[in-house]
């Protein structure tokens, strides 16, 4: 199983029936593919839709029904549409149960940096800062390391997305939570040892006596 599939499958386990969920771009988008069909999850698209459905069949796309990247999507029975003030009212107002976002760095206290690399990549934060400020649970879905460098760092060197810590980080190697504000190893990916996780993690990680393997 490749890294992205491991992450997406594990994050999907966090979603519960009735949840209103907002998925960011990249790996988070894949999470929708692994939600069991009997689970009634509402996906929000920040451009003004609850009840996003799959990409429409060839020839069925409509220019007024798109995701936040401007790509054609469909709407499921029971979907609703609204303007951007309502969409971000839902996000900032604590009505979104779970948001899943990509990350560049997460630090030992759960702070996320995911919106710019000064001097290199300045695309703008879009909806990310509001999502991290307002969603009930914030899950970061990202590779554990990039180009051999840990993305779980002692302190973020990149500009923070929010002063509010995230709830959970799911990588291709581990699940990390922040009980009492301290990065803690909760699970390891199949075939990955605690030692291997520690070896590629810059942040100090608390390790409980027993660390179960991810069930995916």
């Amino acid at each position: 199983m490749d890294a992205q599939t491991i992450i997406a499958r594990r994050v999907a386990k966090e979603l519960k029936s009735g949840n209103l969920v907002n998925l960011g771009i990249g790996i988070p988008t894949l999470v929708a593919n692994y939600v069991p069909s009997d689970l009634k999850v509402f996906f929000q698209s920040e451009n003004g839709l609850i009840g996003t459905g799959p990409i429409p069949e060839q020839g069925m796309a409509h220019p007024t029904l798109t995701d936040a990247g401007g790509r054609p999507i469909s709407a499921l029975p029971g979907a609703s549409t609204f303007d951007s003030a309502m969409s971000f009212g839902l996000i900032r107002g604590g009505h979104v149960d779970v948001t899943v976002l990509g990350g560049l760095q997460v630090d030992a206290h759960g702070h996320l940096a995911n919106w710019m690399i000064p001097g290199k990549m300045v695309p703008g934060m879009g909806g990310a800062m509001d999502l991290v400020s307002g969603a009930k649970r914030v899950i970061v879905a990202m590779q554990h390391a990039a180009k051999g460098k840990s993305k779980i760092v002692a302190k973020c060197t990149l500009p923070l997305t929010s002063a509010r810590p995230v709830s959970l980080v799911v990588t291709d190697m581990a699940v990390i939570g922040f009980p009492d504000g301290k990065a803690t190893l909760l699970e390891t990916a199949p075939g990955v040892s605690v030692g291997e996780v520690m070896a590629v993690t810059d942040a100090e990680l608390a390790v409980p006596d027993s660390v179960p393997e991810m069930k995916i």
């Binding site: 003004g48 839709l49 007024t64 303007d83 934060m125 879009g126 509001d130």
Partner: protein
């Protein structure tokens, strides 16, 4: 509301004007107005728009023609031309969180001085802004945002100027239709009064100054 041609409408916009444009990645954007702004070469614009779309689409056309001098937006990562113009200091860019962007415009349209939001506290966004505590929680004071012109796209407009929108092309349009001195609208369909039921009108007619007639 007055019905006008697209040429007449854009002739009213002076070079250097501040212009809000509805749409999200060019979905729900008044393309005919943007094409005409390019044809009439209205330059030096302050553009207030969620994103920079992509080259050749929506507000992306304004960057293709180098007509923007200042941009207030939330994300421009999908338009390399807008990024190049920003990095070359040809345009001044304010990037702000999307929820803050829409609330500042809503405040501008609703007679509020601004809003208090938790978004951006403790980040680069907070620099130079007043932080205010309410019930022990920190918020940033984000001031209201208005423009001289709002360019809005609707799915339906009736002969009086009542507007209804379609699916995700609604986005910023109804909020911007409240927040500008002059509101100019294009619509996919112009319909008789009564076709849009009162409960389905999203933007009431008195907010619309000009409706672009079918070409």
């Amino acid at each position: 509301m007055k019905a006008v041609s697209v040429e007449e409408a854009v002739a009213m916009i002076p070079a250097g004007a501040s212009v809000m444009v509805g749409g999200f990645m060019a979905v729900g954007t008044p393309e005919r107005l943007l094409d005409e702004i390019v044809r009439q070469q209205k330059n030096g614009l302050t553009l207030i728009s969620n994103d920079a779309a992509t080259p050749g689409k929506g507000v992306g056309k304004l960057f293709d023609a180098a007509l923007v001098s200042r941009l207030i937006a939330t994300h421009i990562g999908l338009n390399p031309k807008a990024q190049q113009q920003m990095l070359a200091n040809q345009i001044a860019v304010d990037l702000i969180p999307q929820g803050t962007f829409v609330e500042r415009i809503r405040a501008g349209g609703c007679g509020l001085g601004g809003v208090l939001t938790p978004t951006g506290v403790g980040t680069l966004v907070a620099e130079g802004k007043r932080q205010i505590e309410v019930d022990g929680k920190p918020f940033l004071l984000e001031t209201a945002l208005r423009a001289q012109f709002a360019l809005v796209h609707a799915f339906l407009a009736d002969y009086l100027g009542n507007l209804a929108y379609a699916l995700t092309s609604r986005n910023f349009n109804p909020v911007m239709a409240m927040a500008a001195d002059t509101v100019i609208v294009t619509a996919d369909n112009i319909v008789p009064v009564g076709v849009i039921a009162p409960d389905h009108v999203v933007t009431p007619a008195p907010l619309v100054d000009f409706l672009i007639t079918n070409g």
